[in-house]
Amino acid sequence: MVTITGKSVFGGVSIGKLLFYKRSEKVIKRTHVDDLDAEWKRFQEAKDAAVSQLQGLYDKALEDVGEANAMIFEIHQMMLEDLDYLESIENIIRTQEVNAEFAVATTADNFAKMFSAMDDAYMQGRAADVKDVSERVLDILCGVDTGLKEMSEPCIIAADDLAPSETVQLDKSKVLGFATQFGSANSHTAILARTMNIPAVIGLGEELSPEYNGKTAVVDGFTGTIYIEPDEETMKEMTEKRQKDLDRKALLEQLKGKENVTKSGRKINVYANIGNVSDLGAVLKNDAGGIGLFRSEFLYLENSDFPTEEQQFSVYKQVAESMAGKKVIIRTLDIGADKQVDYFGLDKEENPALGYRAIRICLTRPEIFKTQLRALYRAAVYGNISIMFPMIISVDEVKQIKEIIAEVKEELRSEGIPFKEDVELGIMIETPASVMVSRELAKEVDFFSVGTNDLTQYTLAIDRQNNKLDRFFDPHHPAVLAMIRMAAESAHAEGAWIGICGELGADLELTQEFIDMGLDELSVSPAMVLPLRNRIRECD
């Protein structure tokens, strides 16, 4: 077995034979030409034929992958009609008295170099476009057949790199996956692979050698790995992984766009928990109805100093915009306990889980809190953001938070900075104290979200990180469920809504019980969204 690692551009697992895509080998020679007008005309005819082929590809792509992705072939046509490009070719033919092939190849090289020299990865990637369109003209000039060999069976396509025109011409029903030696995540091939839902790994390097043509291989688009002639164990593992992914996709197909309604007609929102911007893809892929918990800690954990308002603003804005109007619940910083950050300068504590953490830091160091709130209120203009506060134990804390929010809004207003006036506010229910005063808390906020991990640990007085206590730990302990029920009753009595964002929310054995308690929302890890949505539809 040979294992090669590259960069994933689209997830999924495919198993099949490797088919090495071989380009026609053309050797471009420089030859002297006497009739320069005829040579120029020969080029123009080839160019016109290339443009008309590209129009055909555009029409095909328009149907397969949509207008936004098909646009590249329109741009390719423009490149072939570009006056700078044409003038360069004509100039080389006429002044050097050479053949059209040589003039095209030289011009293509020069223009590709111009892109390669630019200081922007995206523009550097466009060098491949120039080469692709020029290859097309050269194929016509040299009389090379550009049609692809018919594939007799579905294959994993391997190549040095694939041009967009080559990708789109493939018979997609026969393509299991892509594996290329080079290429970038910005290449149109990568974009098309994503649009066509084909597992793809790029940048595998020359280790991916043509000698493997015809060998059985596995492309794991999740990890960016390709296994050639996989051993039995790998084959078994990958077959299972593939099946799991297919099951998820089938579930997605079945549930996409459908509401989460129980048999008795109760509607529940199913959202996803995320801890970083990079998780957004998984949220969208699993068709979550929103983000029920966006842990803002990563902004602090990944930084060597306090993240600035602008840094935070751009992250919150990006998440809000990506979710396009769906709810995004952002939890203010929950540092302390097991999440330590040096620059906060926190003292070592005897009992960090019961110590100086989360909202307790925010209320004693309002300058840190205000920076985050300013960023959140500003970003709320760009989508449907709600704000949630962790580790609440009293009504007084919520009142203090609201005073700070009032100050933040007043500052933004006087500085003339746009912000959203009316942002939905909620609290985490994760302390037994908050449950006991939940009726009073519900009068102050729009929603509750139950953090079952901490609520369980505080209710049962069991440290989750001590595995000696496992035999005493019961995630379905009646005390915990009674806590959730009480919080739900309080919320609804005061017109607030309630959800769960802890691990218990994804426990499918409890889904029916949560529905009976009247929970309005369950927020789970992206991978659990579809199974949970499926389970809800089975509940009464």
Binding site: D82, M114, M118
Partner: protein, 85 residues
């Protein structure tokens, strides 16, 4: 000759796609249309020239039109930039 200045707000700058749309739009005018970023300037009717400027988010560009339909060109192009870039 007419001109306007514009600061790009599209996070991706003038990428292939907007460059293509701009070139198509500019090609529709009889006037000579130029796009300049700092010292560098390009014919807005030529896609390699426009892409070669490497215009990014936050860059200021100057668009000039010179010819019979320059007023119409500038008015329409200004709208185009505001809507697309």
């Amino acid at each position: 000759m007419k001109e306007f200045k514009y600061v790009i707000t599209d996070p991706e700058g003038i990428h292939a796609r907007p460059a293509g749309i701009l070139v198509k739009q500019a090609a529709g005018y009889a006037s000579a249309v130029k796009i300049a970023k700092g010292e560098k300037s390009a014919d807005a009717k030529r896609i390699f020239g426009v892409m070669g400027l490497g215009v990014k988010n936050g860059d200021e560009v100057t668009i000039t039109a010179d010819g019979a339909d320059e007023e119409k060109a500038i008015a329409e192009l200004e709208t185009f930039f505001k809507e697309n870039l």
